[in-house]
Symmetry: C2
Subunit: 138 residues, 2 copies
DNA sequence: TCCTACATCGGACTTTGTCTAAGTCAAGAA
DNA sequence: TTCTTGACTTAGACAAAGTCCGATGTAGGA
């Protein structure tokens, strides 16, 4: 992920302590934090960091295509650093846990032209819902 | 949709003017209103209806499986009365318009067991994203 | 008609996110 | 190294969407 910082600098980003910390929090796969969780974790390393900066930085990373925004429940959006590998999501309806999954097939080609209503279709998200093992056992 | 009211009464629902109006607003297919839009339309017929009641009623209809909750953008949830026919959604990234679509194939069977991580998978939503004809022309 | 459990009301509150004005600082220039 | 400047950050006000609560109203059975 450290080359993420280099890539961003190459695009004219100013490399500040705040941005570095946000990027570090998102480092690692299979992590789907809300903006608040990112802020909490960033604050551990940089206590003065403000919410506005976290929101700004996340928004910029999304525009740059470095992370994905995922809104699975109409509550807080989650941020997915695994933006460079095609995948979809499996969400626990009880606790909200998210796993990355890789279904077979290509849903984009499953949408016939007559079902596109003149839209220019650019992407597709598949969200599986269910109950995770810990929530099932309860 | 009038038999919806009968069905609900059969389940012990008290039939109030407010609930009747909310159900009537959602009548008709291919409608995806936000809670606020439902409230605005319900208010035209029943000016005293409160937001809390609209939220309560929508929540109950969702629990009863009579309508679907759709959150495509992390902003206001939308409510889809077309709950009894399998379908997915095509969303315009610019104006938020939603169309019901019916892709080929069954995404549920596309998720291999090893990709289920012990979850009990109960459903799947496919959201196509793109630009609708009016927004493309601009 | 009367009763009462269930529904509704309005408004306060919470959560999530955006905006702004003032202050700060990264990085190139000298 | 120090200076300069415009991009970045901050705290807090604000906004949108949704939830909660005590008081009041009413649908539907007795």
């Amino acid at each position: 992920m450290s080359d993420l910082l280099e890539r961003l600098r190459g695009r004219g980003w100013r490399l500040t302590a705040q941005r570095r910390v946000v990027a570090e929090v998102l480092d690692g796969d299979h992590v789907h934090y809300t903006a608040d969780e990112v802020h909490a974790r960033a604050s551990e390393r940089l206590p003065e960091i403000s919410r506005a900066t976290v929101y700004n930085t996340l928004g910029e990373l999304v525009s740059l295509g470095e992370i994905l925004e995922v809104s699975t429940d109409g509550r807080a959006k989650r941020y997915d650093p695994n933006a460079h590998h095609d995948h979809h999501h499996l969400v626990c309806s009880r606790c909200g846990t998210i796993r990355d999954v890789h279904p077979a097939g290509n849903p984009l080609s499953d949408l016939p032209v007559v079902e596109r209503f003149g839209f220019t279709v650019t992407g597709v998200e598949v969200t599986y819902r269910g109950t995770c093992p810990s929530c099932t056992d309860v």
